[in-house]
Symmetry: C2
Subunit: 391 residues, 2 copies
């Protein structure tokens, strides 16, 4: 029966994601790695328990909307402004350098321009979630380097999302520089408009919501607006997640929807893992082709070196150790890169093999950074797990 299969699929995805995530956290690795690998294990090329059904891929789309909404909710424009020039320099240079080097390597391997650009954009953005989690695990969130990393990671997320927005127009309108310019203008215009109007609008929405009879209106209304802005962003040629991220950022600025962050947590906990497990489920065919291993190695090395060196240099104002911590802390790629790759795969612009390259790059950069950071940052005395669990 269809209904039984749906609940069984959801059960398998969540149980596997949470068990693998728990195991990886106890190995001091990010839970997201465990979720992706759980998907690979349960996917069609190993156990064969999970397939990319219409329901699960759709639910993964919903999950990624909630993920970017949550990232936005933790992104306060005012704080981004405050961390100042160093974070902006690290964020922008750390996004541009991997893009340039990545495009160059793809071209050197003889790949077509649209495919090369997609991979290059997937290399731009540091994973805010993974970086913040690792720094918090190490008890290092109040270090100077940590503040720069968080600020810069937010900035290169925005740069990466803007690049994705441009890319979406690029992918649909072909190679015309005029259409790229128009999409870029649309993207910037949409972002600026939402940011300018957003805060006041969010305040107003939350005030109206407080007068509603519906249960939990100050959670329901923002979520519906998040979905609406996602649809709007998609409609004008941007990526849906750009709208979700902006919706989150706008409601982060408003202090009136007080229970929003807390109420979104269960949605994050249940639906974001679906996205990462489905990445694993879809990755198997791409990684089977041994011919792309050289490309995967080159792209991963480029992703590490370009981010590390660019961010180290851009953080020249800090002491040397801090500047290197910034460089290493910025290397993990995650959400945004994987989303870019998934969109490229969905539109047929990048093939399964190239998709595997991007996923491998994300996995390896994410695996490497925590190990290195633990050597660079003096360890906190490790308490028993139950007393000092990660946040």
């Amino acid at each position: 029966m269809e209904a039984g299969r749906i609940i069984l699929d959801l059960f398998l995805v969540l149980a596997a994601a949470k068990l693998a995530g728990e195991a990886f956290q106890r190995l001091r690795q990010p839970a997201v790695l465990g979720e992706i690998l759980a998907g690979v294990a349960l996917g069609p090329y190993l156990l064969g328990w999970l397939h990319a059904t219409e329901f699960l891929t759709a639910l993964a789309q919903v999950g990624v909307i909630f993920l970017l909404f949550t990232v936005g909710l933790h992104t306060r424009l005012s704080e981004v402004m405050r961390v100042g020039r160093t974070a902006i320099g690290v964020g922008v240079l750390g996004a541009v350098a991997p893009f340039v080097l990545g495009w160059g390597i793809m071209a050197a391997f003889g790949r077509a321009t649209p495919e090369s650009v997609f991979v290059a954009v997937a290399m731009m953005a540091t994973s805010v979630g993974i970086t913040a989690r690792v720094l918090s695990d190490l008890g290092a969130l109040d270090r100077e380097a940590s503040r720069v990393i968080i600020g810069a990671a937010v900035i290169d997320d925005i740069v990466g999302l803007l690049a994705l927005a441009v890319l979406s127009g690029f992918a649909e309108g072909g190679l015309s520089y005029v259409s790229v310019a128009i999409t870029a203008a649309e993207a910037v215009g949409f972002v600026v408009f939402v940011v300018l109007v957003g805060r006041r609008a969010a305040d107003h929405v939350c005030m109206v919501a407080q007068k509603m009879w519906t249960r939990n209106p100050d959670f329901i209304a923002p979520v519906i607006i998040c979905l609406g802005l996602s649809v709007l962003a998609e409609h004008i040629g941007l990526a849906a997640i750009v709208g979700a991220f902006l919706a989150g950022m706008v409601f982060a600025e408003s202090a009136r929807c007080v229970r929003l962050e807390q109420a979104v947590e269960p949605l994050y906990d249940l639906f974001v893992p679906v996205f990462f497990v489905m990445i694993g489920v879809q990755v198997a065919p791409g990684m089977a082709g041994g011919g792309v291993l050289a490309l995967a190695g080159a792209i991963t090395a480029a992703a590490i070196v370009s981010k590390l060196v660019a961010c180290r240099l851009a953080a020249w104002r800090l002491a040397s150790l801090e500047a290197w911590i910034v460089g290493v802390g910025m290397t993990p790629r995650g959400e945004v890169g994987l989303i870019v790759a998934a969109i490229g795969l969905g539109r047929g612009i990048i093939g399964g093999d190239t998709y595997g390259v991007v996923v491998l790059m994300s996995l390896l950069t994410t695996l490497m950074a925590p190990a290195l950071l633990r050597r660079m940052i003096p360890a906190q005395p490790p308490g028993p797990p139950s007393e000092a669990p990660p946040p």
Copy 2:
């Protein structure tokens, strides 16, 4: 693009559900009515904005699992035991009478036995959610009649779910009385086993969860177990929602997963309306056939009279007014009846026209009760909405 359509569908369902729900609540009607009618309005036979896509019908299945899990979470076996003989009498007699009368009327209209039994079972259970909401709106939750109603509604929910469990085997195994007896035994055995083992197991799960590093484990673990029990219930021939209800009831007994109820709220708020909107989306064809209007009228009248009289009589220990309040308060049908009808439709046992009959019966009984109760129970002074919103 597929991804855009998914988010657009979800946006439409939620926006319509919440706007209609808000409007109905302000008209002092249950929000659930608004949600169903919103589905009818947006469905293929009126506006045509929503269709029963694979994603939306699957999400509705997830929603109904969360609904029954929540109903279970609000059902404490210990409290059901305490309200005593009156509630048990009202619950059981109030479930049996509509079943008998409903089957009789279906047979009188010449319908086949499997179809007749499905409709009769759909007439059994009072909607706990709607009844509790209405009594709370009237500020009458501490009345003697209210306590009996809530206890009895819980009992007839259990009776209705047990009947559905038997019915599921009945539908699959044909008409053999042996297989019905086996399914009934299985159903009772499953329920008794889960209830007996459940409380201690739930305590244990919550204790283990507290030692996990994963975020919000005392919410994640029960939800995954709810999905697992749903799959198990379906696997042994019961309905998936029976497992979800039992999982909720078991965790309601354990005091160790302290934040569970609160964390499940956002899931309820977002996904339960999808189920009711999709009921509306799927109802249009059935109600188009004018030939079933006589049947719809007879079934609705039978649903009202049988429940009203049986519950009034079973509550003979109370004062006359209280006993009549119990009778009227028990009439609204909702979740369980609609779920039974949806399962019957999905398995091809009842047709679209009969499905429409059940939905109409649910709508009319749900519309009638609040209006009558407001005349029987002295009104509280109506405060401004923002100060006294419904819970």
